[in-house]
Subunit: 392 residues, 2 copies
Amino acid sequence: MNINENYRNLQDSYLFALVAKKVNEYKARNPGKEIISLGIGDVTLPLAPAVITAMRSAVEEMGNAATFRGYGDYQGYPFLREAVCGYYGKKGVFLDDVEVFIGDGAKSDLGNILDIFSPDNTVLIPDPVYPVYVDTNIMAGRSITYMRGNAENEFLPLPDSNIKADIIYLCSPNNPTGAVYDKRRLKLWVDYALEHDAVILFDSAYEAFVRDKDLPTSIYQIAGAKRCAIEFCSLSKTAGFTGVRCGYTVIPHELTRSGSPLNTLWLRRQTTKFNGVSYIVQRGAEAAFSAEGYMQIKESVDYYMENARLIADALSALGIWFVGGDNSPYIWLCCPGGMSSWEYFDALLSRANVVGTPGVGFGASGEGFFRLTAFGDRLDVKMALDRIGGIR
Amino acid sequence: MNINENYRNLQDSYLFALVAKKVNEYKARNPGKEIISLGIGDVTLPLAPAVITAMRSAVEEMGNAATFRGYGDYQGYPFLREAVCGYYGKKGVFLDDVEVFIGDGAKSDLGNILDIFSPDNTVLIPDPVYPVYVDTNIMAGRSITYMRGNAENEFLPLPDSNIKADIIYLCSPNNPTGAVYDKRRLKLWVDYALEHDAVILFDSAYEAFVRDKDLPTSIYQIAGAKRCAIEFCSLSKTAGFTGVRCGYTVIPHELTRSGSPLNTLWLRRQTTKFNGVSYIVQRGAEAAFSAEGYMQIKESVDYYMENARLIADALSALGIWFVGGDNSPYIWLCCPGGMSSWEYFDALLSRANVVGTPGVGFGASGEGFFRLTAFGDRLDVKMALDRIGGIR
């Protein structure tokens, strides 16, 4: 009996634990101080009324013999898959509803999708990065190459034809940097993937935050992407579903590798290791895509984006370099005065009583950078910005 | 770019598709006939009132800024983990709440648990069997040995010290056979696992159907099991949650392999590839374990078990050999008159208009056997039993 030895190669992620520890220590030493967090990566506004109404009614259905539902469709109820297709239609992306898989969140699907690929595949991952891309591949023993984000490439690394990769992770709008690929740059990735027989795993969890009409909100807005990309999306940030749990993954019929349609492989994986998402949750998600629901969830997104604008304006006024914030709830700034990520963290905490996330926690290329998020309360954001100005 | 080549070794499961096809063809040829299904493996009674009340209130919480919840605990909310511990306490099994992992169903966890084991581990699986155990290991490229169930061993295969296995699957009460290991026989498996450094994956999804006080409802009722077994359970059949999605997996602290606590490895797997179960669902599950909720879900289980008793009595009166039905919602019978599984299926369908599931669909050792389930409506069950008598 052996365990999966690859687990021994994982590094424990101390980032948020260390942040919490430092904050708690500061609070213990300074009991009177009011700390404001711009580090939070979780939504704070309640669910939209249309979503609540739909879930309320689904709960009642489940308590009634005439309307009770047992096992649903492994891939998600057709009503929700069709709602997702309708949402894509408005982006000019036309999908067959069996190309859409309803799951319990983008994180689960991003991790589990690796089941269908060979462990011998090489992986290309941006740095800084959402740690899930790295850890899931270490668990499977895959070889990882990093592509560096930096101020020069605006934290939007581009393909290098000298580097061979089978699986490529892209996240746009990006977590943690908030940077967004435009169509020209995303096309370079699609062309690279098609040329190298690679598959792009495209994480579009933050697509609802894109304001600029010219920026892509789905990789399938790029010609050829249906032949090389799987798209992962979620209602977590779009509709405040972080505690409700619902996402969707798109695998177009055109996407085949080694002669196998990846849609069929993923369906086989899901029917074998998954039993679908709660009916109540699926009804809530359907309502989020309705005309009424969509207007309501857009209001919450607008609220967060106004926070982001305030943060971006304040940083601009201070002359601090940053990306993100215009089409994303994340703002990625260059620590002022040449401070390291943790130096700036300590300075903000002790002198401004504001908490953010040190960029180096997302990868070596994040050193010297810092993440702020727009998910807080408006008054807190304003108060935090007043205090941040003095730290340089 | 290569796919996971192991997927090519999977056989398509045609069992339920073939059953459906035959039934539909019969209906098309005989439009007036009323078909009764005793093949259904899904619950039919609505959720308990206490569960509905709890989910109703959780939905309202999520619509209110003051009570809204975002991301929960990866491992499940403490309130639900503690409720599960309380349920185990009544069985005389005492768990620490961090030994309990809340998930979206036993099937997901039974599949995903394999992530933490080496692909080189050998696997021992009973035949007939729930196909998920087989397919998940084929996907990982593991070598599988089968242990045959038959009338002689009452479909409860016992360890053979000549066979070496690292991972052992046991399901008791069993799907598909309804057979239940008693403490003596389960102890033989625990001893074998301890001696061979193996891990037992114990599927107790049907434990709520056990009526005989002397039969184990958890493998941890057997001395030593905490050092060699992971237990998977679900609210699907216990509380009618097949469409709600909630289960739990227990990994005791004592269970270590290759020097690593399996609890820690699974926690690492879940924090990396999973984001928890819907808050609303977890509140519903908590209510199912409350005094009021448990009384209500027991009523549904009793209803199904009365169906099972009626089926078992009818088969006994007909002199048909079977196991199950007394402590399980499944009845596994020997097809009368030496018929094969599919011959009996065809005879029942065409001459009695009753549908069941051919045993051979669950593995080669199921040939000549047949599965009936107790999840139907009482009147349907009685009518079906009246008709079955004539088929021999």
